[in-house]
Subunit: 347 residues, 2 copies
């Protein structure tokens, strides 16, 4: 099962809001249908957003009717703007849009269109390859018998297959290590309970679901050997924006001397932001907090806040696992080295 | 509205599992009906458990048929054992049972029975008075314009009226201070979303509901001036057992230099346990984690853990607000002084 699949005149995704109860596939036949699906979190996860946005650019380009090359590029740019306006935190979305615009070269419109599809396929292939390499490298940090705490879903569903944080777990299991995962449910949208528990159960990897309130209890009682999470954007100094609640776990892990690892492809590293303070944090609808799966849990009229991400300062991050190596402090030099980026707007 | 009401041949409680959707009152006409209601969390909160257990002893005593005084006391003891076996963490339950047993004195059965009702009423009155005094004292820590973070429900519903942590907020509001409360939803049983948000909304005290994952984000962004929570049991060294997730907030508050206060009557302090490590932590049904309000959120067959409490080491506790004064480190001497307890089994 692939999270995102290109089918020439449409993009096929699994509707992640319906999991684990139902496996519903959506066929998105326009770039704006993709934009809506992203906003509604039918597809989510930083690498997956990059891939689907790239294909949405390629799909949108098939329909552009333009007299001139300039008009074609202007319309492609507007498609990119619509996609980039869906969610502000994960950098992969912006980077994919920029890569696709940069790839819009060729003699004819047909050639440009085909080049865009090729670039989207390259992004997908790069992410798949990065997941595998990250897994192989990160698995070295997981010992036989480890219990790993993870948050949200940084699995196959967040990328195109295999996963970032869960890719590390999968690789360790493939190496014959016994690994038990503690998965936080991850309120408000329950990606841990719905997606991570589901992915791991499907593969027979032992998983224990806990409420987000329980992380400190288990970290303090020596039940957890290490934490591995994904990332939505990593700043030049190693600060990590990830699903709301990640910062809580990082602080509690540090307080209890439990290593806290972030597994993320270099496509998630954004040297154009110096620190986490510059990363925009998406604020989503209060209804995601006042309701759970459509059931109201709070009295009518109660105000709720809903920041979708938080920032974990780099001092709490034991190491960042990327496809190009595992890096620790000092992050500024090391992140620059492994990304080959020089900073500036989205590298 | 009173959380617990004695009505001679029955005990009236509001069913807290049905709030805020419905206000359903239950009339419990036997001590074992009370035991079931406690287990099912239709009534919860350390002081409320003490009060309802005391009345359940008095109610059970009305029905005892005994030939001798010894037989009467033996049956009363068995009633106490049933009540004490309902939930292991909150100390008030055990202390109430012990107080009622100690109050079973008198010339006739009628006199003993009436003495038991009197003792239960005394416990209720003491708790109500303690709430008021705690509120008046604790309000001195809350400045005009403060935003207070609280967890679970330490309000009127957790006692008999007014509340412990929320009593402090109410007293500050009564003093004319503007106070805004951030209430965590408190998974798994959502006491924050269902009960705290409801109590505060009813009184027009501004409240913002947040998911448990969001506490660190708001503590780190200077949105919270102090934390005030209740307690289920406080050990002799100041370690605090309270609703699961309290420890997370305490560590995050310390990390961000935000004061962390515990508001609890001296009836919650148990000098017979030297430290939090000795406090038994109740493990509840995994279904409370895999389901929310009856709706399944995790795939079938997934294992879940469900510790109902955690222990916050005293080094994270800025001060404990009691009806006899506000105390800080060193807790061992100061808690002994304000309780007048000398240690030993349940003081």
């Amino acid at each position: 099962m692939k999270t995102v699949e290109w089918a020439e005149d449409k993009i096929r995704i699994i509707d992640q809001t319906r999991l684990p109860g139902e496996q519903v596939f959506l066929e998105l036949d326009s770039y704006d249908a993709v934009a809506v699906a992203i906003k509604e979190m039918r597809i989510r996860g930083a690498p997956a957003l990059g891939i689907v946005a790239a294909y949405a650019m390629a799909l949108g380009a098939q329909r552009i009717e333009a007299e001139t090359r300039e008009e074609f590029l202007a319309q492609l740019h507007r498609i990119g703007e619509v996609l980039a306006a869906t969610r502000p935190t994960a950098v992969n979305l912006f980077r994919a849009v920029e890569r696709l615009e940069a790839a819009a070269v060729g003699e004819s419109v047909a050639e440009i269109r085909s080049g865009l599809i090729g670039e989207a396929r390259r992004i997908e292939a790069e992410e798949a390859e990065a997941n595998r390499r990250m897994g192989a490298l990160g698995a070295g940090l997981i010992e036989d018998g480890f219990t790993v705490l993870t948050h949200c879903n940084a699995g196959a569903l967040a990328t195109v297959s295999y996963g970032t944080a869960l890719g590390v777990v999968r690789a360790a299991v493939e190496q014959g290590k016994r690994v038990h995962v503690f998965a936080t449910e991850t309120r408000p949208l329950l990606q841990g309970a719905r997606l991570t528990a589901w992915e791991l159960s499907q593969e027979g990897i032992p998983v224990t679901l806990i409420a987000d309130t329980m992380t400190g209890h288990f970290l303090s009682r020596e039940r957890i050997n290490c934490v591995v999470v994904g990332a939505d954007r990593i700043a030049a100094n190693g600060d990590v924006a990830n699903k709301i609640g990640t910062y809580n776990i990082a602080v509690l892990a540090a307080e209890n001397s439990v290593p806290f690892y972030v597994a993320a492809p270099t496509s998630t590293i954004d040297l154009s932001v110096a620190s986490g303070a510059e990363i925009p944090i998406e604020e989503r609808s209060p209804e995601e907090v006042t309701h759970i799966q459509g059931v109201r849990i709070a009295p009518p009229g109660v105000e709720a806040a809903n920041p979708a991400f938080d920032v974990t300062p780099h001092r709490y991050v034991s190491a960042i696992i990327t496809e190009n190596g595992i890096v620790g402090e000092p992050y500024v030099e090391r992140l620059r080295k492994i990304t080959g980026q020089r900073g500036g707007r989205h590298g």
